[in-house]
Each structure stands twice: as structure tokens, then as C-alpha cells.
């Protein structure tokens, strides 16, 4: 029943456990920090941030708004006040620079739930399960906007588990837990990385926001790649790796430019050969790439 799912094994031997989990730990700390910022008010009376993931006010000055929710509001026929517009512009602007789906990997509270589900799924050795297409989330995104327009209401917020989990924690709502549990079970037993990778329209919109993001992962040392496939095993969107990692023969850029890459950095953690690194989309040597090291070992 159990499988030997240990994609970081080689990296741990090579670099040691902390280095093989550095980005993962950084991400968890960021996610928890965001959560604590929101919970410090209701739990400890320390009001740094008010509100939740949908809209918030930091230190009574900085407004932040979820651009996706505001977009639905537009479609529903409401022109929001300036505060919300500024908030959404700030959020969209930041993610446009650092990668839209950085939200998914570094901020979204559901990431811990779905990552845990994925871990359990792999430990149980379950097959891929229901494979919906990755474009499905774009269809769902379009659908939510259409329902918002037809119904004159912010449709997705009625069921959105991403904002629900924060709302549930910040305002102590019990019933939303059911949705989180359902989602966990869905990702474990129904579809591998099903929610974040195929269905969630929030991630789909953030991906579109970050389509020209500056911060990107590069497979700069791809000539060192020994095809261990560990990066594919940990990557939540493994299809983004191939064009960059396997592009050496085609003189393709080593930059992972796919909008679905969430800059989670897990590929860097598990790579024993240190193939990957963070870089800017403008910071790569011009084509063709110099093959510096010795030619690849024969398989």
C-alpha cells in the first residue's frame, strides 16, 4: 500500500536535510506569518491587519483587495470605491512582478492543506486518479465571471475555499471546516493535486496576472541534470519544467516562463545537482547557451 515516496533523498544525502528543504521551510514560514498577521488581532488583540484575504487594511493605512473578487464585482455591475481599487492594484502589481502564482505557493492558506493531501496521496501510493485538464480552471474562471454577470452577485465567494479558510479562522466560523476537509479528501482520493492544479480559478487568475512576471526559475545548470526526475515528483505543475530543462538541444531558454509556475522553489530544494535557481526573466545569457561543463554522462 505505502510507496517509497522520497523525492528529496538524493538532495538530502548531497546537501543535508536543511538545504534540501530550505525553500519549503521558507514558504511554510511565510504562509504561517501571513496567517499570524491576520490572527494577531482577533486572537491577541494586536491589530496589525484587519479583515481577511478578500480585503484588508494594514496598520490602518495600507488597503489590500483580492483582484479576482473585485473583478467579479465589476462583472456583477458594481463599481467599487477607490479604497478597494487601490488595494487590488497593489496586489495585482506585486504579483505581476514576482509571479502571479507566488500567491498560491507562498500565501494561500490552502496550500498547506493540498500539500499535505499530496504527501499523503503519494505515501499511500495512489494512482493519479481523476485527471481533469489543466485548462479546466480557466473555464471555471470564465464561468464564475459569467455567473457573476448574470446573477449580479460575486458568485465564487459563495463557495471559494481559499477565502473561506481565512474567514473561518479570523472570524471563528465552524462550518467552513467541512469544506476544507472535503477539499483535503478530494486531493487525496479523487485527483492528484486536483484542486490547485486543475480547478481553482483563484490560481488561474493569478497565473494570468503574472504571465510576464520578472522573478522566474531558471534551469541554468541543466547540463548537469542526471534525469533523476525528483523535480518532476515534487513540482505542483510539472509540465512547466520540461521546456526549460529539456530545451538544451533545441537552444530553448532555460527560463521557466510558464505562467503556472508558482515560484515555490521546491525544484531547487530537491535537485542534488543544483540545476535550478531564481533569476529575473531578463537575466539569462544570450542564445546559444555555452555548454560549460563536461558533456552529460551517458545514461
Amino acid at each position: 500500500m505505502t510507496s517509497s515516496y522520497a523525492p528529496a533523498a538524493a538532495a538530502i544525502t548531497q546537501k543535508g536535510w536543511p538545504k534540501a528543504h530550505g525553500w519549503l521551510l521558507a514558504r511554510r514560514m511565510t504562509q504561517i506569518s501571513f496567517l499570524l498577521l491576520f490572527l494577531a488581532g482577533p486572537w491577541f488583540g494586536l491589530w496589525i491587519v484587519k479583515g481577511d484575504m478578500a480585503a484588508s487594511r494594514t496598520l490602518d493605512v495600507l488597503p489590500l483587495t483580492d483582484p479576482y473578487i473585485l473583478l467579479q464585482s465589476f462583472f456583477a455591475g458594481h463599481i467599487p470605491e477607490t479604497t478597494a481599487l487601490i488595494g487590488a492594484a497593489i496586489v495585482a502589481g506585486v504579483y505581476a512582478l514576482i509571479g502571479g502564482r507566488v500567491y498560491c505557493a507562498w500565501v494561500c492558506p490552502l496550500n498547506m492543506v493540498t500539500d499535505a493531501a499530496h504527501w499523503l496521496r503519494e505515501k499511500l501510493g495512489l494512482t493519479k486518479g481523476w485527471p481533469p485538464k489543466r485548462e479546466l480552471r480557466l473555464w471555471i474562471l470564465g464561468m464564475t465571471l459569467a455567473v457573476s454577470a448574470v446573477g449580479g452577485t460575486i458568485a465564487w465567494e459563495l463557495v471559494n475555499p481559499v477565502t473561506m479558510i481565512y474567514r473561518g479562522l479570523v472570524f471563528s466560523l465552524g462550518a467552513v471546516t467541512v469544506v476544507i476537509v472535503a477539499l483535503f479528501l478530494f486531493d487525496v482520493f479523487v485527483s492528484r493535486r486536483g484542486w490547485c492544479g486543475n480547478l481553482c480559478p483563484v490560481g488561474a487568475l493569478y497565473a494570468l496576472v503574472g504571465v510576464k512576471a520578472v522573478l522566474r526559475v531558471s534551469a541554468r545548470n541543466r547540463h548537469d541534470c542526471d534525469d533523476c526526475m525528483d523535480c518532476y515528483a515534487v513540482c505542483p505543475e510539472p509540465q512547466v519544467i520540461t521546456p526549460a530543462l529539456k530545451g538544451l538541444a533545441k537552444d530553448a531558454s532555460p527560463l521557466i516562463l510558464d505562467r503556472d509556475c508558482s515560484n515555490c522553489g521546491r525544484c531547487m530544494d530537491v535537485c542534488a545537482k543544483d540545476v535550478f535557481c531564481f533569476t529575473s526573466r531578463f537575466h539569462e545569457p544570450p542564445l546559444p547557451y555555452p555548454v560549460t561543463n563536461a558533456p552529460r554522462k551517458a545514461a
Partner: protein
């Protein structure tokens, strides 16, 4: 994927597959959309006891404007406002209050409206006395103590707009034939719907309740005119030469 097949030069299969795939996805998403749409429509209905915060836009517009951030709830100093949990009759994540539990204290600076980033609570509302969260209605004519001829008056006394939103209308008590009934009478245009009257009602189940305006208030047709008002405005009869016959009063009383 299907687009890639097309490029690889197997047009027959890839076209068929592309159409089938698209139809499949469209149907799945269509069913999701339908379900969500029906749910969204049902979410628009509100229980009559749930009152939106001051300045809230009409229910239809409100659900298109409220992003469910809960900042109005957070800034309410009296914990009047609460946020709807999943599965409640009120749309999940939206703010409301139940007057019988904690009514609106009508803060002068209206912190809930100030907190709203989107305008779901209208920032144009600057005087809380202009709020129309709902309208109080004396629904329990058989149980209201004042209706029974007693002097409870509690709803009238707690009203922040005493003698404006609630007045006491005296009529003869037909039971004793010598006392008066002091009927609490709500003036819809002044009532803010704060719910202090409902909260204060001494009965086990409040005889006075705040209801949404669409349920609680009647509306005259636009062309209706009240003769006596028109007459007063005009400063005399509107038609000259109409003979005013004496009113017939039972028992031959009268002027």
C-alpha cells in the same frame, strides 16, 4: 494538447478529439455554473430577521458589491454585526445583525460604513439618522401591552428618534370606554431600523419587530393625492362653487 496534435498533422483525429474535449469541458463547467448560479440566486433571499448594516445597498446590489472581508463586523464597537457562516440562510461571509439579539447602537461616526472598502455600505450615508436598515412594525396587536390599554411604552422610550420614528397615538379604549390606548405608531420615513425597540420589547416574543423595508412598508401609487393636503397647500377648496354639505354623524351629534 489537442492543438499540439493538430500541429503534428493528424487533423482528422485531433479535430474530433478537440471538439469532444471542448464539449466535455464545456458541459462539466456548464453544470458547475448552473449549480453555482442557482445557489447564488437562493443566497439572495434573506430571512426577515436578518438586517444588513447601515448604508447597505439593496440586497441585489449588495451581493455584487460586498467582498466578504468582514471589516464592518470588526469595526462594530458593540458586536452587533456578525458574519454569516457557511450554511446559514444569509449569504456566506456577508454581514448582518439580528435586532432581538444585539440591535444597532447608531454610532454617530458610523464605523462600519467607514470600514467598507468597496462601497457595499454606501459612504454617502454620513448621518446615522438617515439610515434605513429596516422598518419597525408593531406586528403583535393582540399582545402589545399598550394595545391592551397598559402603559408599557418601552419601545417608544428606547427609540433613538423618540417622537419622530415612534409616536404614541391616543385612541379611545373600547373596553373601559373611559381610558385611552397609547398606540406605538412607527413613521417609516424616520425609522432607521436600528432594532432597539425590538430588543427592548418586554414580551417573550417581541410584538414590535424590525423587518426589511420591502416587507414592512406599503407604498402609495405615484398619482395618489390626499385631498385635505392638496386643499391645505392650495389654501382653500380646489374647485370653486362646490357646496359643502354638513357631515352626517351617527346619533345626530356633531356641529
Amino acid at each position: 494538447m489537442s492543438a499540439a496534435n493538430k500541429e503534428q498533422g493528424i487533423p482528422g483525429i485531433s479535430r474530433r478529439r478537440f471538439v469532444a474535449d471542448t464539449a466535455q469541458t464545456a458541459c462539466v463547467v456548464g453544470i458547475m455554473g448552473l449549480t453555482l448560479g442557482i445557489y447564488a440566486r437562493q443566497a439572495k433571499s434573506m430571512p426577515a430577521t436578518a438586517i444588513r448594516p447601515p448604508g447597505a445597498r439593496a440586497q441585489d446590489a449588495f451581493l455584487g458589491a460586498c467582498v466578504r472581508c468582514g471589516m464592518c463586523v470588526r469595526d462594530c464597537p458593540y458586536d452587533t454585526l456578525r458574519i454569516a457562516d457557511l450554511g446559514e440562510a444569509v449569504a456566506s461571509g456577508t454581514p448582518y445583525f439580528v435586532a432581538r439579539e444585539i440591535p444597532c447602537e447608531m454610532c454617530e461616526d458610523i464605523p462600519c460604513v467607514a470600514a467598507c472598502p468597496t462601497g457595499a455600505l454606501d459612504p454617502g450615508l454620513t448621518n446615522i439618522n438617515d439610515a434605513h436598515m429596516g422598518v419597525a412594525v408593531l406586528v403583535g396587536h393582540e399582545t402589545c401591552l399598550n394595545y391592551l390599554g397598559l402603559r408599557c411604552d418601552v419601545c417608544y422610550r428606547v427609540c433613538p428618534l423618540i417622537d419622530e420614528a415612534i409616536t404614541l397615538k391616543t385612541i379611545s379604549n373600547p373596553r373601559t370606554r373611559k381610558h385611552a390606548l397609547f398606540i406605538p405608531t412607527i413613521h417609516t420615513d424616520k425609522c432607521t431600523g436600528c432594532g432597539k425597540c425590538e430588543k427592548a420589547c418586554v414580551l417573550e416574543e417581541a410584538a414590535i419587530k424590525v423587518l426589511p423595508e420591502r416587507i414592512a412598508a406599503g407604498k402609495m401609487d405615484a398619482h395618489y393625492r390626499l385631498g385635505w393636503e392638496e386643499k391645505a397647500k392650495h389654501g382653500g377648496p380646489l374647485l370653486e362653487g362646490v357646496i359643502d354639505l354638513p357631515d352626517r354623524v351617527p346619533g345626530g351629534a356633531g356641529p
